[in-house]
């Protein structure tokens, strides 16, 4: 199988995110995502009152879970996971039942009215297979996203995960999400 022995994942340093949306537009261009939908987005949090104010930004997309609930509920096998961990949708097998949209704890999937199938972040698998980084990772002006192979001990991802504290979002779901948010 393709990319056996690899496990792709993302680390995100939200402190570096400035909510500039370059990732959202890069994804839209790369993956022809129609307006009204996005495969990635930035969660904003605004707190406090004048003049004690706080704002934080957290990029999010499909977490490419190790134990993906979307794949489990898919009745046709259209949702599947590659050996390298990337969760994909085979558009030809998707019947648009949208069970997976409900099953995803992160709201990462959406239904496209024009095509009748469900869509989400593929970690730009087509780019990754060419040896390139996902479009959102490559374009990010503040380099808030770090993409890599978890099995590569000396790779950029392991380097940052072994030296920085991190967490995952909603670990209680049992999905074992693979976006690591750095503290």
């Amino acid at each position: 199988m393709k990319n056996e022995g690899k496990r792709y994942a993302l680390a995100i340093d939200s402190r570096k995110c400035i909510n500039c949306k370059a990732c959202v537009v890069a994804c839209r261009a790369e993956n022809h995502v129609p307006l009204g939908h996005s495969r990635n987005w930035i969660n904003e949090e605004h707190r406090g009152s004048w003049p004690k104010l706080f704002a934080s930004f957290e990029p999010e997309q499909c977490h490419h879970c190790a134990n993906p609930s979307c794949v489990r509920v898919c009745p046709t096998g259209a949702s599947y996971q590659r050996a390298d961990g990337i969760v994909m949708i085979n558009e030809d097998e998707c019947i648009g039942c949208r069970y997976c949209i409900v099953a995803c704890p992160y709201g990462a999937r959406f239904f496209r009215e024009d095509t009748g199938v469900v869509e989400k972040c593929t970690l730009c698998a087509h780019r990754v297979d060419r040896g390139e980084a996902p479009a959102c990772v490559e374009t990010c002006p503040s380099k808030a996203r770090i993409f890599g192979d978890l099995f590569d001990e000396n790779g950029p991802l392991q380097q940052v995960l072994s030296t920085r504290e991190h967490r995952v979002s909603k670990p209680q779901t049992g999905n074992s999400p693979q976006i690591y948010y750095l503290f």
Binding site: R15, I18, V25, A29, W50, S142
Partner: protein, 724 residues
Amino acid sequence: MSEATIPRRAFFHIAAAGAVATQIGCGRRPNTAGQRYEVATACESCPNKCSVIAVVEGGMIRKLNPNPRNPKSRGMLCARGNAGILQAYDPNRLKQPMIREGKRGEGKWRNASWEEAFDYAAGKLAAIKEKYGPQGVVWSSTESFAEIFFKNLGLAYGTPNIVRHPTLCLASVNLAYSMTFGTVPSFDLQNANYVIMAGANRFESFITPDTMDLIESTMNRKARLICLDPRFTVTAAKADTWFPIKPGTDMAFILAMLHVIIGEGRYDKAFLDTYSTGFDKLQAHVIQYTPEWAEKQTEIPASEIVRIAREFSDAAPRAVFYAGRRSSWYQNDFQMRRAQAILNAVVGNWDKQGGMVPNGKMPLGELLFLPWDDPQAPRVDELDKNFPLAAKGDGAYLKLRENVLAGTPYPVKGWMISKQDPFNALPDQSKTLRMMEQMDFIGVIDIQMSDTAWYADVVFPESTYLERTDPIEMLPGIWPAVVMRQQVIKPLHNTKPCLDIVQGLAKRLNLSQYFDYTIEQWNEAAAKEMPIEMPLEYLKKHGVYASPDPPRYGATLQPEHRFVTKSGKIELFSERLQEAGHDPLPVYHAPEQPPAGRFRLVLGRKAFFTHANNTTNPWLLDFQKENRLWMHPQSAKPTGIADGDLVEVTSSVGSVRLRVKVAEEIRPDCVHMLHGFGKRSPWLKRAGEGGADAAILETAWDRVSGNAALHETFVQVRKVGVPS
């Protein structure tokens, strides 16, 4: 104006191109048949010239990727840069020359051939020259690679009235640093340990390499960031300390920092002794500016000013007070930027790693062409009299408009405009409209029917940056580079690059001898001085050439180095300013405050949009569909204004309507709206809703540089509707 005023043929073209746009924007499986190729080129979504690699499949641009070879932009491409594809595939862009048929602004156009458009425009320009002299035409443009061709046409035509963008932007900062150091330096944010940003919103308003460097420094290297801004911006949110400073009082903060640093002996004495002049006078001058005094002006506690001053000088030379980009704020803007420059000088951060660094350059050759005669007439903005220290070639935009409207010192009846939208870029639209109305001829070169183009007589459609090759350009900086913008796809419509338009006009104005070259010849001549083999081939392949050597610091730190100032030293005290009748050291004057019931209008930018551009780009507009008036709850509540209400914002020159965003993130004495909304041109009807700041901004300028002063307007806010 309604859609019905657009000629039927124009509609047909819009509809046809709409199909293309759908394919690019929304198609599930784009046509990927055909060759896939990549072109290394340069972005033009903003003036920053980041390097990009365009991926073309099946004849269409599929994606724009960052080009990591550029030492400035490295691996970044912002939202605008990514959305640049839609510039080429915009169904509402200009697709062929057009000549106005009805009244100005009525929207009656007829499509014309290039020959017809050239003949018509050249005829008008020749007639104005005959009647009023070449000084009867203003030639205005904004920075771009090809601006030189357009500007040269104006010079060859013989007008002294070239007016460029700096006095709507950063003329005051450029002049202030030039008067102090003899040059405008870069700020080494990549290596700085302490950065003060006053009003510069580098994490939100403008995403450039400085943004990358600063986020890396602050988040990974724990550099300290201090932010002064009347709004809680993204930069404020990321800063270690944010002070919601009272608008217009930045100079008080800086002078008090100087008071502390000099008073406590925290300045770099050895550096100042060797490289500067006027320290004694500065020392005596800042005694009056105590932190306690500054607290009353700025509303920043004195103890905090002392703390910042100490931390700043402790971190020096890796400490910078960042100059800012758009410095068109107040009538004393030049003097405030001078105070910054002096503060930077005093801690000795000049030409040091993590400090302020004079820009490195790389050699470029020049194509030789016939020289034209210098213009006979003086400038209509009387720059020598009004702003004798200002950059001669850029003009002073607002003073120019005043004099054109007054008809002094002579009549100006023609206006050639390239890549600029004065209707939105200049404060007070009613004045700009009057200036346009009194013209015998207005010609506009643009890629879209801007509000200015809408009021023009002839519109020349330029090819977008993805469809043309531009002159190669050297980007000065700490790490200089040469970049090239080259054609990615053939023009989709009947458009031309700037040089072809200039040549078409030059031929009919009998000025062809000055433009007898091709873009290839121009670029060959420019590239031949580059220190590599086959330089043009290299640029065509890689899009950018950067020196293989990393930046070096300290080249000017030789005792015999002569700064390009009168004294040859860094001028803390400026005799030239004194001779010109200005304060030789920055003197603080408290800004006028809004009377009860009025608010100061403070402007800002969001990096989805560049000035008044990109607000028709659907991928960007998706993030911000309208501009709202930011109002603090304390200010909104007493007048019964709630979030989402429609309000009328009125100044002494006009009013606009837009909806309110009730926000904690702004000082109660200010309101804020984003620039670039509220367009008039029906061709821009996809643009976001809201109001145009230019309709209510009053005319004011910095006294020394002539830079527009855009934060001097007080407005009233009246509720006119509730959210629907």
